[in-house]
């Protein structure tokens, strides 16, 4: 695969004294669905706007399909931008919104055919004569998407594509968006603050913080093997435990237990990540705690989530989150609040955080 379809090279941007982006480098492949994930103020939207041509970077270049587009105006770039607010034209109906970008270069007949095709692709044929105000949020999102896709862009930029939709519609649209992207093979780059959205949509994603890219990898890799403490906390639920070397094993003061790692460590002291679903939870009377990678604690909080139950378990100075899958339909299977339980995990589940 062409790994250099979209090359972002040494991009920096400041607004006044505020450094928004610092030396950003990214390579995105053709037909990739790429996510930029970060909290507000991380610079993700500024980066997307630089790609769209709405902001000029202070330094660096943007190269799309071999062409340097850094200094091109938005209307000269072979890409399209889907706005978070959708920015549909309120004075035009759906048909004319869809046709807006192709009216210049196409005949009336071609416009007609193109609009029909795109409307069919997005199942909005019945809406063509509607006004924008008469559309629901989901319908508006499709029109905004269609208005971009009709131009057959090399690259589609999406700013928080699902943020304006309600939760149920969001998960449905997530699936549709990935299916559509795989079908059209257009490169998608999107921005989101929602880690679930980033995980479910992206082929690869970049985690941004304070104008820097902390990590860039597949969602699985970032979830399972985050490199930094920030990423570990940002993606999913994380139990972060500080450990230090003691004799053969590692020891945590907060938990008062030993950890056995399956790899050597350079440092004598480090943070480790233990994801809540990796922890096995068992009743006290069945077992005894082993000398390492397990502890006994008391259930402090419990929330039933349908397919899972989330427990907050107190042990010594720490509260550990555990997700337990509800295999059994018998509700008595769940551990009640206040019960003493034994938690244990495999050595492989312990992830060492380097920074």
């Amino acid at each position: 695969m062409d790994n250099n379809f979209l090359v972002i090279e040494n991009i920096s941007k400041s607004f006044g004294d505020n450094k928004v982006l610092e030396n950003i480098n990214l390579n995105i492949s053709k037909s990739e669905f790429f996510g930029l994930l970060g909290s507000s103020g991380s610079g993700k939207t500024t980066l997307l706007r630089i790609l769209g041509g709405f902001e000029k970077p202070d330094t660096g270049r943007v190269i799309l399909d071999g062409t340097d587009i850094t200094n091109l105006e938005p209307f000269e770039r072979p890409l399209n931008y889907m706005f978070q607010s959708y920015a549909l034209f309120p004075h035009l109906n759906v048909f004319n919104n869809l046709a807006f970008g192709i009216k210049e270069n196409f005949t009336q007949k071609e416009i007609e055919i193109n609009v029909r095709n795109i409307a069919e692709l997005l199942s909005i044929e019945h809406l063509l004569n509607r006004r924008i105000k008469q559309l629901s949020g989901g319908e508006q999102q499709r029109v905004a998407l269609g208005r971009c896709l009709i131009k057959k862009p090399k690259l589609l930029l999406l700013d928080e594509p699902l943020a304006a939709l309600d939760k149920k519609l969001r998960s449905k649209t997530q699936l549709e968006l990935t299916t559509l992207q795989k079908k059209l093979k257009i490169t998608f780059v999107f921005v989101t603050h929602d880690q679930e959205e980033a995980m479910s949509l992206s082929d690869r994603m970049a985690i941004m913080k304070n104008g820097l890219i902390l990590e860039c990898s597949s969602p699985e890799e970032i979830y399972e093997n985050p490199k930094s403490l920030y990423t570990a906390n940002f993606i999913g639920i994380a139990n972060i435990i500080e450990i230090y070397k003691k004799d053969e094993n590692f020891y945590s003061d907060d938990l008062g237990i030993n950890f056995k790692l399956n790899k050597e460590l350079k440092n004598t002291q480090t943070n480790i990540l233990l994801r809540p679903e990796k922890i096995k939870i068992q009743s006290m009377n069945n077992l005894k705690t082993s000398s390492f990678n397990s502890f006994s604690g008391e259930i402090l909080e419990k929330s039933y989530l349908g397919s899972f139950t989330r427990y907050e378990i107190k042990i010594k100075n720490m509260i550990i989150s555990v997700l337990d899958q509800n295999f059994n339909s018998n509700s008595n299977y769940n551990f009640p609040k206040g019960e003493k339980v034994i938690c244990s995990w495999e050595s492989e589940s312990i992830k060492v955080l380097e920074d």
């Binding site: 209307f75 706005f83 607010s85 034209f89 309120p90 004075h91 970008g101 105000k133 208005r147």
Partner: protein, 295 residues
């Protein structure tokens, strides 16, 4: 219940205002316009006479008189043309300014808005008089032009229709800028970016997106300038010459120089009807159109 009643009538208070200060004076003017002229105080006869039994004493002579003399119709046409030209220039200058104010950051925006409003704090008469001083033969503008050697003798800048147009555009510009700003302030700037993203350059974006969405503001501002300019008296009087007669001036002369109150009232009443009727029809059609187009 009492509160409800209060609310109900409170809503009608603008109409009360309108009746008190527009419809009643209009009715009085109409009454005078159909009275018979006479030398005396007031210079017209009562329309109801009781001396020899009840008698209605009205005439449409005054209307016949003003409509048969091109002197009156011509001045009204002059005023309409003046108002059209002035409104056009106000729009031409006011739109970019209003757009710039509406899209600048909040601090600059407030400063600029104050600058637009500041002229209202000084007397209208003084401001027009100041232009007279600037434009006169030994005025500041001519002195500069002479000293720079651009002209060898003073230019006649005052007392012509260009000075009138300039004075009107200067005076009425805020009335164009403020309603335009009101609409453009709500303008979603993403729409401009979306248009550019979809391949339209700045000029096409202006005509396809910005202009169609600004129509309500343009209509409001234009009416606010156009209507009062038709009846404008002071600016043509102070800056204009004798080359062109305007409606406001004729009206004033008819009232105060000729003391022909019925004729002047007929002129005023006709002017209001000719001006207001098309605008009311336009407003009705326009509100239907904008409802349909949801602007």
């Amino acid at each position: 219940m009492k509160n409800k009643l209060f609310e109900k009538y409170f809503v009608f208070s603008p109409y009360f205002w309108l009746v008190l200060f527009f419809f009643i004076p209009l009715a009085i003017i109409f009454k005078i316009s159909i009275s018979v002229s006479e030398w005396g105080m007031p210079p017209y006869q009562d329309i109801f006479l009781f001396d020899n039994g009840f008698k209605i004493n009205t005439t449409f002579e005054n209307y016949v008189y003003i409509f048969s003399d091109y002197y009156y119709i011509g001045s009204f046409v002059n005023s309409l043309i003046l108002a059209l030209i002035s409104t056009f220039f106000c729009l031409l200058i006011g739109f970019p300014l209003a757009f710039y104010i509406a899209t600048s950051n909040i601090r600059l925006r407030n400063i600029l808005l104050v600058l637009v409003v500041i002229p209202f704090w000084s007397s209208f008469l003084l401001r027009v008089y100041a232009w007279k001083i600037i434009l006169q033969n030994n005025g500041i503008l001519n002195v500069i032009l002479l000293n720079l050697g651009i002209t060898s003798e003073p230019l006649q800048l005052l007392y012509n229709q260009y000075a009138v147009i300039m004075g009107i555009v200067y005076t009425y510009l805020p009335l164009m800028i403020l309603p335009l700003y009101g609409y453009l302030n709500k303008f979603d700037l993403n729409l401009i970016e979306a248009s550019k993203d979809l391949g339209l350059n700045r000029i096409k974006t202006f005509f396809k997106v910005i202009l169609p969405l600004s129509i309500p503001g343009i209509v409001a501002g234009s009416l606010l300038v156009f209507i009062p300019v038709v009846g404008e008296f002071i600016i043509p009087e102070m800056l204009g010459g004798s080359d062109r007669l305007y409606y406001g001036k004729i009206l004033w002369e008819e009232f105060f120089v000729n003391r022909n109150w019925p004729g002047a009232s007929a002129l005023a009443f006709s002017g209001i009807i000719i001006l207001v009727l098309p605008i009311v029809i336009f407003q009705i059609l326009y509100s239907r159109w904008s409802q349909k187009n949801e602007i």
